[in-house]
Amino acid sequence: MKETRRDFLKKSGCALSMAALATQMQHLGMMSALAQKMDDASPEGGGAYKALVLVYMAGGNDGNNVVIPNHSDATISNYGVYSAARSAQGLAIPQAQLLPIAVPRMGGLTYGLNPNLGPLAAGGINNGIHELWAQGKMAIVPNCGTLVKPMTKTTYQNGTVQKPYQLFSHSDQVNQSQTSISNGQSFSGWGGRVADKMNAASNPTGLLPMITSISGAQLFTAGQTTLPLAINNASTSLANVLNPSGFTNTGGPARLTSFNQLRTYDLSPNYINAASHVTDLAMQANSALSSTQEVTVAFPTSSIGLQLKQVARLVKERLDLNINRQIFYVQVGSFDTHTFQLTGQTTLLQQFSQAVRAFYDEMTAQGTQNDVTLFTLSDFGRTFIPAGTGAGVGTDHAWGNHMFAIGGSVAGGDFYGVNGSNGTPFPTLSVGTSAPDDTDNGTSAKGRWIPTTSVDQYAATLAKWYGLADADQAAVFPNIGNFTTSNLGFLP
């Protein structure tokens, strides 16, 4: 539904408008006595706090080098198979460097995480995310990707099952992973649609929108009625992140009055209405974000570190903001490693692991580790067969990929998802005609895994934990009925 500014103000309610006015005055340093925060008000409705944090690995992360067989069981793809495919061109990670994880779902076999997800030789500020596996706080959903319906190599090749549109194309696969709709274009994201369904009941007096992006406008965050907040990372304090400057000049207060009035005029042209609406949302959020509580755990200064630090600040502010349910979007990348993957992916995975671990530790310090679930998505996986050789080696666009879910409520330490033809959720690492999980036949096949678990199933599992009612599931995930289960079980 398109919301006019009038509707928005109506919904926002009188209390917010007063608070907004007061805090704008506080920003101007004029009447701080008026700027009463709503510290005492405990959030109404919605139950205990829960938050979802999407870490989007932009560009298509090569999951084949993140979760690797670390065993020699000949009945299933083992380290030798992996090494044979990738070592000649210099892309295989030596087995001795892998960080072992035992996987009950794989009969107790050992797999290995990319070494950059553990303690770093230099420059690390924590031990990374690897040890969260053994603590049971981290789960992996292997070979997850965009699907319209369950698909096999046979149905992929004979065309009897509809494929996601424009496989292997960045922009389209980003859109599909963020909309959870692969059979046609959608202009709303699944995060936005969850918020559409839940915001009114969960955050009836919330002072911020349900969704906040620390990485600009993203389709994931856009609903049909939900507009997200988008703010800068922690290099700017929450109090300043949406604070317009300059109203202390000569004539400033009168100018601010007019600045605020102009947003309410001339709204018949739809583009002017849209621009005013966004600015209005920003000014209202600015009013709510006047004080800041700082985090206590050290965060890295990488972009993803600063983004997650800003998320942690907002989680800490949740009571002041009257928020019970919250969705965050942060992004790390670019993982589009057609070339020079060894250096490129290493840096990014280190940044990812260090930042996510800091965030988990901060949630623990805040006592919210069981209320906050962090999860990953990416454009797609990358080809198992490398492109190029030597230092310049890289990988091309592919499909199924390995996703991570991290948090105190995650039933961690295991793989989750739908079994493929090998009886497990982990793909068979072989390429070409006889390879059951590769899209292509013949010598030009590169190992593009056909997903066994859909983004829809992964997302629906997260949304259910978050509190999305079963009755609303089909509206948020219109294709979920095509799959055998809508709950993968990693968030019991």
Binding site: Y165, F187, G223, I231, T279, T339
Partner: protein
Amino acid sequence: MHNSNFVRTRRNLIASLMTVLLLVLGAFGQYDPDPNSPTPVLLTEYDSTRALVQRANLSRRTPLPVSGQLAFAPNSKATLYVTNIALMDGEVANAFRIDAEDAKGRHYLFAVVDIQPMKEDGLYAITVLLRDEAGFWEPPTADGDLLIALTWRGLTSNRARLGLGVTGGAIKDDPGAVPMPLGSTPKTTISRTLKAVSGSKAFSGVPDADYGGGYPFSGDRKRFLEQATFGPTVAIDQRIRRIGLRTWLAEQLDAQYPSLNNPYPDLPLKSTNQNDVTLGCGPSDGSTFYRLCSRDYYSMYPVQKWFYTEALYGGDTQLRHRVAWALAQMWVVSGVDTQQASWMITYYKILSRNAFGNYRTLMKEMTLNPGMGNYLDMARSTKGNPNENYPREIMQLFTVGLFMLNQDGTLQRDASNNPIPTYSQDTVNNLTKVMTGWTFCNTTCPSSQPGIVNYKDPLILNQTNHDVTAKTLLSYPNAVNQTIPVNLNGATELDMALDNIFNHPNVGPFVSKYLIQQLVTSNPTPAFVGRIAAVFNNNGLGVRGDMRAVVKAILLDPEARGDVKTDPNYGKLREPVQLVTNLARRFDVKSASLGGPSDGVINNLSANIGQSTFTSPTVFNFYPPDYVIPGTSLPGPEFAIMTTSTSIGRANLGNSMVYSQIAVSENAPAGTKLDFSEMTALATADPTCNRLLDALNERMMHNTMSAQMRSSILTAVTSIASTNPAARAQSAVYLVATSSQYQIQR
């Protein structure tokens, strides 16, 4: 509705000058017709605002109904009646749209699917499909009246009631809305015969403009300059007033580029290894040499400085600069990836050289541009290790797009109403094979230097790395080179493949719609796209891809032209670059001391709100062309970087540009400051500040500022003591510049 009064008051003066003008125009002048189209009128009942309506598909001989008391189901068709329009040859139903609002305030865009002349002179029956065009919305609930307006060429009709499900309901008429029965409105005298699509280039529905030479339409001059340049200035506005649009365009299309006093920076190639002491900048020792060397060779600084200098001060080069910049946001390479200025200049030269050239030439030169070859990996693609990055993106982003298009830019759909993919992964694989074997010319070309990657000369072919197997490329009716046989030379194959892509029917509408969105409006009518695509397909001389003809047709189209645009879905959000340059040019941008020109070091201004030139985050540009504004069904590419964060950033940009300056520093040798002395003089001369507001209304708002807006700004401005006219001028400029009314170019 348009400027006939204004024109009449000027007629005598113009007539007296006519002889002189004819002498001047006779040599090189070209005639500009009146840009203003009539405003369409939706007929209503005699005594209400209810639209006259009947079931669709009745005979055109069916008499005009007298009642609007019919209700329609969602997805059904309704026939309405419109008058006061003037159609060009070939202008048919897709030139019109219906903007519908429901009782909940939601807006829908309905397609007009048919238009037929009635026997009454100047009256047309239009048939509307009551379904949102974008297909984003669920149908409006069928529980009462919608308020509907017919839009055409950026103009909107009166709003009338149309019953959906039932008549009546909660929605209220617009304030002051009156019935518009037949006979209450002026009838146009244009032939009511609808002709089949023809090659007519008729510009406006009004054939005989009653003015002389030049271009007296003040509002449209500013609109034109917002579309064709980096912002209106007094000088260029007066010049167009004098010589007219077409003559100005002819000058711009043939002018030398870049400006004589702003030549391209001539930068040597440098090693890609910044730590290479002999070829890079030496050790990172904090020395001035290292700082300046890094800045000038390993950053986008010199390119950005040159680019903005041309945008701020270029004269005859504005149009080419503007179109090249639009193309740069389509054929994206990014300094994020390779931080060398020298190759970015080489890349930009291709865009500017071909901005008015042929699109096929642009495709070839860009494919072999070493910067692009590096950015999208074609320079490393061999038959043993093929890389599909560039082959995919040249189709998806630069030429044909993902889905089959009609010639008016709308999506073709299959029997299940799904869009039809233009190509498959198989096509990508085949094109990838075609594009193998190319590499940097590091030894045998004019700019080759030992041990350095040559980012200046085009890529060269190493046939031994080229895949010589047969290929199957894009399929379309009468496809050119759909297959490539075995054992051809890679250079031959590249030309064959580019011809295959270039002749795909999608290219015309795809490129045309993109350029319209960049220059004019985010949501052009299909008719506008179709008119431009037709020019792309054939410039009138049988040439396909003539960008000179395309650019000219876009800027002279009746949907682009006109003093006032009232269609609620017309316009576009100013991208950060345009916002910065329009404000700077409008207020006489100078150095920090106001004693000379700005040095052009202003990229930080646009970077702070999401557009750091030449450093797009990805190949998908700063914003994607198909972005839809959240919570609406309205395309708005630039809104992808209009967030809560950047909306405040835009206000802060206004604050910086109006109240502050870019001070002189090592990187900003002259600094930058806007000069508001002319506005201050107006505030001094008229303490009521009405003249100040008049000037800002004319210069920034095309004379469309609403009474409310003016009153609010006047109150703020006059709260400042009249003894401080400079602060009054600043306050007024700040409020207009930061308003959504200005942020939207309309």
